[in-house]
Symmetry: C2
Subunit: 380 residues, 2 copies
């Protein structure tokens, strides 16, 4: 019988937290960054490279996987972990966010969201129950409820309607999860706090979700067009009202700066496509801040990106070489910068964990930000 | 002082040979396959993956590197090995072949070939002396003379003219190599036998080259449009007339079947883009023959490509997963199949070396071909 999902808080420092999630497939140290493995692969990365970069858990996208290759097919092949050769924990989203962002035609009704596949134009229906079923077929360790995520800014009435619908879908997701006995199988289900940038709607949402008793709570509907300050203000309002003994996941966030501020406000988990997507396009996230390798100033620079990094890709290749690879459109440029970025995201999380445990998170935040501001100054 | 270039013949079996090339940067077991690293990267591969796949040496393309990022820049950055983080031997071609195949506008004259860069349209002149200088700037371990390589079929007069020009360029390349004291620096220079599909022209070319005394001899101008039988007939005519104590390199060849037949005829070294290029396009070369992962018959196949392979990419991922990655256009599909293909090419070479040493090369060739013919039959 697989171990039940557990979360232990190890230390706190101000609002910042350090903890661990225990799953039947292993431990996730928090604060945790989850690399995005949209189509059953973290783009350009061998799974062992994702692991070597420090990831304890990756995210899989239900929307993409249910369309191709199909959840039933992945189940027949032994589940998503075996399919993608990643034996460690996987969190899957519910598909709702991608339905909104990728499908041109969609209709949200009480019973389901119906959408046209961006791959072949087929009309597909996704109910809260089907979203849970798909995630069970994938055999994910942490499933998410189906929600409706709308772009900001939006009229309060629209935000309220979507939040209330998301609550009713949360209830149905919870029942479907129990019916499939996913908790007994070691799985977990997270509810998603909605309510846009309206504090009272956010509080209504989170209170209702807490009453339903989820394994963890996500803050959804952010990083969808609002100002960074609005995003942090919402986190600051929501996080303290969430139960201290459950993990808190800020969905789709963000930059290193965003994550550092969110950790300071009590967030435990993140996912974002920035380190992988920007890496493919020539942008490195480093201890010294972001560095665009497309820039011609790197063409003759023999220095590595960061010789103090734990990542070989940041130490063993010159900026001149990385610039050459990006200019030449070589896959290896995307591969190396994705490695650099994922490693830096994980280093940032590891640094935050150590700092919280040592009771010096404020120092860590200040020092980290100071080096970003100082930036990528040649040492010669 | 770096060790001088050496070649030792370890064993022969019929015309097939097993040997070793010693360079200042390490040993190359022969028969050897050299993965192609056109733009200072074997496409999609970390250098440690190329090495783990069994490669002792890679090939760099002088034409591409002199255009971008430039030979002088690579030299200023410490040479090609450091630039691409590959500390093992590198063979560079002379640039001549790509001038013919990639540059739309070109003019071959006695003194030089002048061509328009496919990158920015600049007119560039390449003399035999400059080709040697560029390869010295790259600090390659094995340099190639500049030659003129023409497409087959071609009139005998054209083949003869190009062969004679290539001989005069060989002489100039040899002098330039000595003037730069590349041999004293541990480097080597190979001459290139030309003469198309005409046996008498081939013999004239190789005799003249042997008189010039190169470290090794390449057979050029094949795999350029002629029938496979014509290619092998030329190899069969040329190889026995080459000095037994020098390595023999069949340029741009080929498929596993081509290489096996060429080893049987006394060839020691190969390079080809097929394992990397075809891997990116969904074709796997395996012990069981070529397997096209694009084919829908693999969509639900849980079997790995070859569970007996030494390559993790051939063992740890189902055909269904590889099919999914290729269909979804994911980089990881190209990466895994490139790993599979390079490993299989190296396994084939290692098998040939062991078979020659054990005096059972004919058995090895027959068994290998029999399994290819039997093909990719499901074991269920």
């Amino acid at each position: 019988m697989p171990a039940a999902f557990q979360f232990h808080l190890i230390a706190t420092d101000g609002a910042a937290r350090c903890g661990e999630i225990m799953t039947s497939r292993g431990r996730v140290a928090t604060p945790a960054f989850m690399p995005v493995g949209t189509q059953a692969t973290v783009k350009g990365m061998l799974p062992e490279a994702v692991r070597a970069g420090g990831a304890d858990i990756v995210l899989g996208n239900t929307y993409h996987l249910m369309l191709r290759p199909g959840a039933e097919r992945i189940a027949a092949l032994g589940g998503l972990h075996k399919f993608m050769n990643w034996p460690h924990p996987i969190l899957t989203d519910s598909g709702g966010f991608q339905v909104m962002s990728l499908s041109g035609l969609r209709k949200v009704e009480e019973r389901a969201v119906t959408f046209r596949s961006h791959l072949d134009g087929a009309m597909i229906e996704l109910t809260p129950e089907r979203a849970i079923e798909v995630q069970a077929l994938l055999d994910s360790d942490i499933a998410m409820q189906l929600d409706e995520c709308i772009r900001l800014p939006a009229p309060r009435a629209d935000i309220e309607r979507a939040m209330r619908l998301s609550l009713r879908w949360a209830e149905r997701s919870r029942r479907a999860f129990e019916a499939l006995r996913r908790a007994q199988a070691g799985g977990a289900l997270f509810g998603i706090v909605q309510g846009g940038d309206d504090p009272s709607l956010r509080l209504e949402s989170l209170r209702a979700l807490i009453d339903m008793d989820f394994h963890g709570y996500a803050i959804g509907g952010l990083a969808v067009g609002e100002a960074p300050a609005a995003m942090l203000a919402t986190v600051e309002g929501v996080a303290p009202a969430l139960p201290a003994d459950r993990p808190r996941y800020l969905m789709g966030v963000g930059t290193p700066a965003d994550m550092l501020e969110a950790v300071a406000r009590g967030i435990d988990m993140f996912d974002c496509v920035l380190p992988t997507r920007n890496g493919r396009h020539g942008l490195a996230f480093t201890r010294l801040g972001p560095i665009s390798l497309k820039n011609a100033r790197h063409a003759e620079d023999p220095r590595p990106l960061d010789e103090t990094s734990s990542c070989p890709a940041a130490r063993d290749y010159s900026r001149a070489y990385l610039h050459h690879l990006i200019k030449a459109g070589e896959m290896l440029g995307a591969i190396l910068l994705t490695m650099v970025n994922l490693s830096y995201y994980q280093e940032l999380m590891a640094g935050a964990r150590a700092a919280v445990t040592a009771g010096r998170f404020e120092d860590f935040r200040n020092q980290t930000q100071a080096i970003w501001v100082q930036g990528d100054v040649p040492t010669r």
